[in-house]
């Protein structure tokens, strides 16, 4: 076997993608131990050496983004329909699904379009497929949230959208703070 692939300590659990995830791993964890194999038969592991694929973080991010976009879709529908009866509330709840689907597709198509445009201008970040587009997706989502906050009116109907937007922007700000922290840490390590 190729010995480079036989490193049991390069487990994916210790490789988060986001700055916040990296800081959390730094603060909470000792080196991750090799998991105990659940059966008694002989078993060897060979893990590929790759950058961040933290399963928990991946699904946390997917769930968080889903909830944020669902809440924004629901909030937008409340603004449009202004439900007052049971039927209109039901319509708002049911309508959230197609609005959510349209929203995630608009965001990903827009991100992909921007990436294609940037490539036309010669901007090609050295990242694997999907990673740069993903950042553009998150940037667009953040921009949408900023717009919501800027245009937020008063009243209960706007409350859901603006509080969701504020929540997402808080997550973005905390991640940015974690990134700054990591940069200072690297700088300090480089200087000592």
């Amino acid at each position: 076997m190729n010995p480079e692939l036989l490193d049991p300590f390069l487990l994916p659990e210790c490789r988060p993608v986001t700055a916040l995830g990296r800081v959390l791993v730094l603060l909470t964890s000792a080196p991750v131990e090799q998991p105990v194999v659940d059966d008694k038969r002989s078993s060897s592991h060979f893990w590929t050496n790759r950058a961040g694929q933290h399963a928990g973080e991946t699904f946390f991010l997917a769930t968080l983004i889903s909830l944020i976009i669902s809440a924004l879709s629901f909030g937008w529908l409340i603004q449009q329909i202004a439900p007052s009866s049971f039927l209109t509330w039901l319509l708002t709840f049911v309508g959230t699904v197609p609005v959510f689907i349209v929203a995630i597709h608009v965001l990903i198509f827009a991100a992909s379009g921007i990436e294609a445009l940037l490539q036309l201008f010669g901007i090609r970040p050295a990242q694997f497929p999907g990673h740069f587009c993903g950042r553009l997706f998150l940037a667009l989502l953040s921009a949408w949230c900023v717009l919501i906050l800027v245009n937020a009116g008063h009243g209960v109907r706007n409350c859901l959208m603006s509080s969701t937007a504020a929540l997402w922007l808080t997550v973005v700000a905390v991640n940015f703070a974690a990134w700054i922290f990591l940069q200072f840490r690297e700088l300090r390590q480089a200087l000592t």
Binding site: S43, Q53, A55, F59, I104, I108, P129
Partner: protein
């Protein structure tokens, strides 16, 4: 000239159409890993609800495996198979795009290593489980021996053309993909490869197109009273009998997010004890189906990606 009628274009958007696969490959190019579960959930539900024949095929296979379970449980189980299949396809596409995304673990390492060290050729018999398109080049790289992966051609010419291009892009020195087309030359090619000490990887759980079939009466649920007819390819056993090489059962199971387990089981032979070659083939095939394949499928039913009806009623 290419057929551009609306029916033809719609056909290309079907479950086996090239446009569906191209759209999925484009999706993997633009979608970041942390958004994959979001889009996969949506498209899996859409494909499951719209793909009637696939859904029916899965439910029929699961009903043969679990006859005591009700229609709602079987429906949900069929969805779980499609869900697993979607993640497997996404992982495969990402790997083909050059990103090393999969973590592997091996169960039965000693059998795996024995196969790698042997100078004799070997048949690697597997099933439609996990990411065999991604695993095969990895095996070849680690064995440092040529691995010939036999694939059934795609149902549509456009899909076949596209798939050949995609797989050619991941071609390695020790890895060749051979298509089981109707030109009858494949058997000869495989015998030559095995004689040279190479490995031949074949899927032994489904018969498509012009492949010599072998039908066996089996009990998928393990209950001897519930018998069905299961058709599998005869080729791997004929090859093993002709060349005398061992058959290594190897399965690839998805165990989590971007994580797969390779299950390598002890090898077996297809040897004629008398002049009756057919009896030897049937004995080996029966061992493969009854002792290896069906117990594994019963345990890992959510990973068995045969999307057509596999078990027929016994007449």
């Amino acid at each position: 000239m290419a057929d551009r009628s609306p029916a033809s274009i719609l056909h290309r958007f079907g479950a086996y159409g090239d446009l569906t696969l191209k759209f999925q490959a484009w999706g993997a190019k633009v979608c970041p890993p942390y958004l994959e579960p979001l889009y996969i959930s949506f498209y899996t539900a859409l494909a499951f609800l719209l793909g009637g024949p696939v859904r029916q095929g899965l439910i029929s296979n699961l009903k043969a495996l679990f006859p005591e379970q009700g229609p709602i449980t079987l429906f949900l189980k069929a969805y779980q198979v499609i869900w697993n299949f979607a993640f497997t396809v996404a992982d495969g596409t990402r790997s083909r795009q050059g990103e090393s995304v999969i973590d592997w673990e091996i169960d039965g390492y000693e059998h795996f290593e024995a196969m790698a060290k042997a100078e004799q050729g070997a048949i690697l018999l597997t099933a439609h489980m996990g990411n065999y398109d991604v695993a095969a080049p990895l095996f070849a790289e680690n064995f440092q021996r040529r691995l010939n992966a036999v694939r059934a051609p795609e149902r549509h010419a456009e899909t076949q053309e596209w798939m050949e291009r995609e797989l050619a892009a991941q071609a390695k020195d020790h890895y060749t993909v051979l298509y089981n087309k109707s030109d009858r030359l494949l058997g000869l090619q495989l015998v030559q490869a095995l004689s040279r000490g190479e490995i031949v990887a074949i899927q032994g759980d489904r018969v498509l197109f012009d492949v010599a079939p072998l039908s066996l009466e089996v009990s998928p649920s393990g209950d001897p009273d519930q018998r069905c007819l299961f058709t599998l390819p005869k080729g791997p056993f004929v090859l093993a009998l002709t060349t005398g090489v061992p058959i290594h059962p190897v399965f690839i199971l998805r165990t989590g997010w971007r994580r797969y387990r390779i299950v390598a089981l002890p090898p077996f032979y297809c040897q004629a004890e008398s002049r009756d070659r057919e009896a030897a083939i049937e004995k080996a095939a029966r061992h493969w189906v009854d002792d290896i394949l069906l117990p594994l499928i019963r345990t890992h039913w959510s990973q068995w990606f045969v999307l057509e009806t596999a078990f027929a009623p016994v007449k």
